[in-house]
Every structure is written in C-alpha cells, then in structure tokens.
C-alpha cells in the first residue's frame, strides 16, 4: 500500500516538474536543453522508483559492495547539499537584485527632485 502511494507520488511529481519545465520553455523562460535534462532526470527517478532492482544491477556491474540503503543515504546527502547551495545562491542574487532595484528607484527620485 505504502509503495503504491509512493509510486503515485513520484509520477505526479514527475508530471508536475516536466510540465512546468515545458511551460517555461513555451514561454521562452527556459532552454530546450534544460527541458530535455529535467525530462531525462525524472524518467530515471521513475525507473528507479518502479524497479529499484535496476540500481542493484548497476551496483553489481560496478563491482561495489554498498547496499541500496547506503546509496540512498548518499543520494539524500547530495540532494541536501544541492538544495543548500541553490538556497545560498538564490539568497545572494535576491539581495543583489533588491539593491539594484532599490538604489535605481532612489536615484531616479533624487534626479527628478533636483530637476524640478
């Protein structure tokens, strides 16, 4: 039961993410390469969700001894790190953008006040 819900959840998330990416592409906010990248990523995530054995085959091919739990754990740490990095960068860009908008508005106001 839990696995079925989890699989449905993964499919819904994939549809949402890919359709959002496609809409952004249609609105020219995203490149075709990014749409392909996200679609491919979500296809892989769905393959792993529906047949976890595929990861096992991959591990055997690589000759590793790590269990699936270890791989999932490492994956979680990696994703957490990526989220952290994206958050830090977004915060920095947000601050810089705020500054540019703010001082542009103040300077425009001052210029107009002086010219009156």
């Amino acid at each position: 039961m839990f696995l079925t819900i989890a699989k449905i959840f993964v499919v819904v998330l994939a549809i949402l993410a890919v359709s959002k990416s496609y809409i952004s592409y249609r609105e020219k906010k995203e490149s075709l390469a990014m749409v392909i990248f996200w679609t491919f990523s979500w296809v892989v995530i769905n393959v792993v969700a529906f047949s976890p054995a595929a990861v096992g085959f991959l591990l055997n091919d690589l000759g590793g001894r790590a269990g699936i739990g270890t791989i999932l754990g490492l994956g979680m740490v990696f994703i957490y790190f990526i989220v952290y990095r994206v958050y830090v960068k977004a915060d920095r860009i947000e601050k810089q953008l705020n500054k540019v908008i703010r001082y542009s508005a103040i300077n425009t106001h001052r210029r107009k006040s002086r010219s009156r």
Binding site: N98, I101, R102, I106
Partner: protein, 230 residues
C-alpha cells in the same frame, strides 16, 4: 523638535492610498516637519499617479520587492532626507493614520528606538481571521526563540523607527517578508530599546491583500538561515 517621515509601501492600492494620505496628521506635538514617502512597489494600477497627485514623495520600483523590500527603500530615502524618525504604515487602510501620533508621543516619551504598533494589545484583534492570528502568534514565538525578545505582534507594519534604527537599517541587506521579524532581531542584538503600543486595525472583508499564510514557512526558513549565516 524632530523631522518625521511617514513611509507607505504600496502595491496596487489605488482604492485606498488617497484616503490614507489624506488622513496622515499634518501636525504632531514635538514634530517640526512631516513628510510622506510612498513606495510604489511596481503597481499595475494608478497607485503612483494618485500618490503623486496627493503631494507625497513617490518612489517607484521597477520590480516587485514585497512589503519588506519597499519599506526598506523608504527608510533609506528617509535617511537621505534627514529624518529623525520614520513611521511605516500600510497602504491598504487597515491602520488608522491618526494613531501615528500615539507612536510618536511614545517615542518622544520613552526614547524607544523601535515603537511597534501591536494589534494584539488592543480589542480589535478579535476581528483578525483565525488563520492569520495563529500565523502571527507562531511567528512571534519563532522571533522570540531567534532573538530572545518577546514582542506581541512581530508582523505589524505600523511602526516607528528612531534615528539610531534608521542608521542601522540603512546598512543592512534585508529582503522580503522576514523584514518585520528581522528588524526586531537587529534591534535587540544592538541593544536598542523596543516599545509596544496598542493600535486599532480595520479588517475589510472585501480586501484580498495581506500575507499568504504559507509565507510563514518562507519567513521561518529565511530567519533560521540568517541566524545561522549571520
């Protein structure tokens, strides 16, 4: 005698901005000069024109920065206009501009660097929608945990900033909705005096503005991040 500047962040407030501007007191005891700044936060309606016609200084953002970002723009401009104190008030008419006097008088009497108009200290809080009440209470406790200062209404946009707070805020990078909580954290960290006064609030059922309750999660994440990163 002090120079007071009223800062009004506004986003698509053509229905209420004129009334708010007209209601701003023209004279207050202990105040020699009162000026008004409206920060038009990239409105798509006639907010800019109406505020301009009402005689306010109007600064226009090319992009929407949110209430916190717009308030900070106003405070920085007020500092450049040599304000001794800044009162921030919402443009949607939920605050009574006549109560600006109460904030100013308490500032002059107590010498507080930050005077917060608290909706929770007055009877009108009963009219606040329950979901907002819970959200506001929750954010007040989170602000207390992160700052060590208990304030009854951390999300109130009706505030007075004294000259030391104005100087301090002009040097920091604050963005977004976390502005309200973060100013309290900054004030407490710098040993500024914080004082609260009760204010009345007018809740209009037809008004669709205000914060999305989910913004509370964004505010929480930002506050924790800023606390950790500094």
């Amino acid at each position: 005698m002090i120079k007071l500047i009223i800062v009004i962040p506004a986003y698509n407030e053509e229905r209420s901005i004129a009334k708010v501007l007209q209601s701003v007191p023209k004279q207050i005891d202990g105040v020699s000069q009162i000026e008004t700044i409206v920060i038009d936060d990239n409105s798509s309606d006639k907010t800019f024109r109406i505020a301009k016609d009402a005689g306010a200084h109007v600064v226009s953002h090319r992009m929407n920065l949110g209430a916190g970002g717009a308030t900070l723009t106003g405070i920085i401009l007020a500092q450049r206009l040599e304000a001794d104190a800044v009162v921030t008030i919402d443009a949607d008419g939920q605050h009574n501009p006549l109560e600006i006097k109460r904030l100013v008088q308490n500032h002059l009497k107590t010498n507080a660097d930050l005077v917060i108009g608290s909706r929770f200290l007055s009877g009108t809080i009963k009219k606040m929608p329950t979901i907002k009440k819970i959200g506001n209470r929750g954010l007040s406790y989170i602000t207390y945990l992160l700052s060590g200062k208990m304030v009854s209404d951390t999300q109130s946009g009706f505030r007075l900033f004294g000259s030391e707070m104005i100087k301090l805020l002009a040097t920091v990078d604050l963005v977004g909705y976390e502005f309200c909580s973060e100013t309290i954290m900054i004030a407490n960290k710098n040993h500024m005096k914080i004082y609260e006064v009760p204010i009345s609030t007018i809740y209009d059922k037809n008004r669709t503005g205000g914060q999305n309750p989910l913004n509370g999660i964004n505010i929480l994440m930002k506050l924790i991040y800023r606390k950790l990163v500094g």
